[in-house]
Subunit: 126 residues, 2 copies
């Protein structure tokens, strides 16, 4: 096993010793699910960034702009609708996608800058 699993303490809490044991047990049970969701989220995000990395290389090769406003608008509307169906706050889903997209655009610009140092300024219209 990696050092991650040896070092992480799932019971770490600033509340230790300050709450009744049964309350702490209930808290830790929910936190254990949160930790599983977080591991899944990190692995999904890693795959999502591998995909956008491929988009970044493709865009740089063909000197296409880092952002794509029509695509982003369609993504946001879709994710808000999916969030509503899943009982997630649609406003949060929109903030989340904007947070991801700004990281992606930053990465696209970096790839383009590496591959086309002279042209990247011209093509960065987003």
């Amino acid at each position: 096993m990696s050092s991650t699993h040896e070092e992480f303490d799932p019971t770490a809490s600033s509340l230790a010793g300050q709450v009744a044991p049964e309350v702490m047990a209930e808290l830790l049970a929910v936190r254990s699910s949160i930790d599983n969701f977080d591991a899944a989220l990190v692995h999904l995000l890693a795959e999502r960034f591998k995909a956008t990395q491929r988009v970044g290389v493709l865009k740089a090769r063909h000197q296409l702009p880092a952002g794509d406003p029509d695509r982003e608008a369609a993504q946001i509307e879709r994710l808000k609708a999916l969030a509503e169906e899943a009982q997630l706050d649609p406003a949060f889903a929109e903030k989340f996608l904007n947070f991801i997209i700004s990281e992606v655009i930053r990465n696209h610009r970096a790839i383009s800058q590496t591959q086309n140092p002279a042209a990247s300024e011209l093509n960065d219209q987003s």
Copy 2:
């Protein structure tokens, strides 16, 4: 089928008509995977917020503070290590968790305010 799937146009793009068809085909193929990852991310986030909602109710009932610095520090170290293993930028994983945690703390405060209007100011030490 819901209206989400009827209305979303996976080919929406500000680049339409401006790039060679084979480049657009390659772009759309990767975007189709990104759309699948995004649907999975939204559903996982919905479950994660259901779990933190349970934590929020528990904390409000026992008048515990919204934030838990030792827990958050442990989560961040774990997620950075998991990100590294999954080839995701650990700095991004940290930004992502901080983004989620600030939303969670905002929600915890709102729950506490509803359940203990007088006490919530005192207990909000994070």
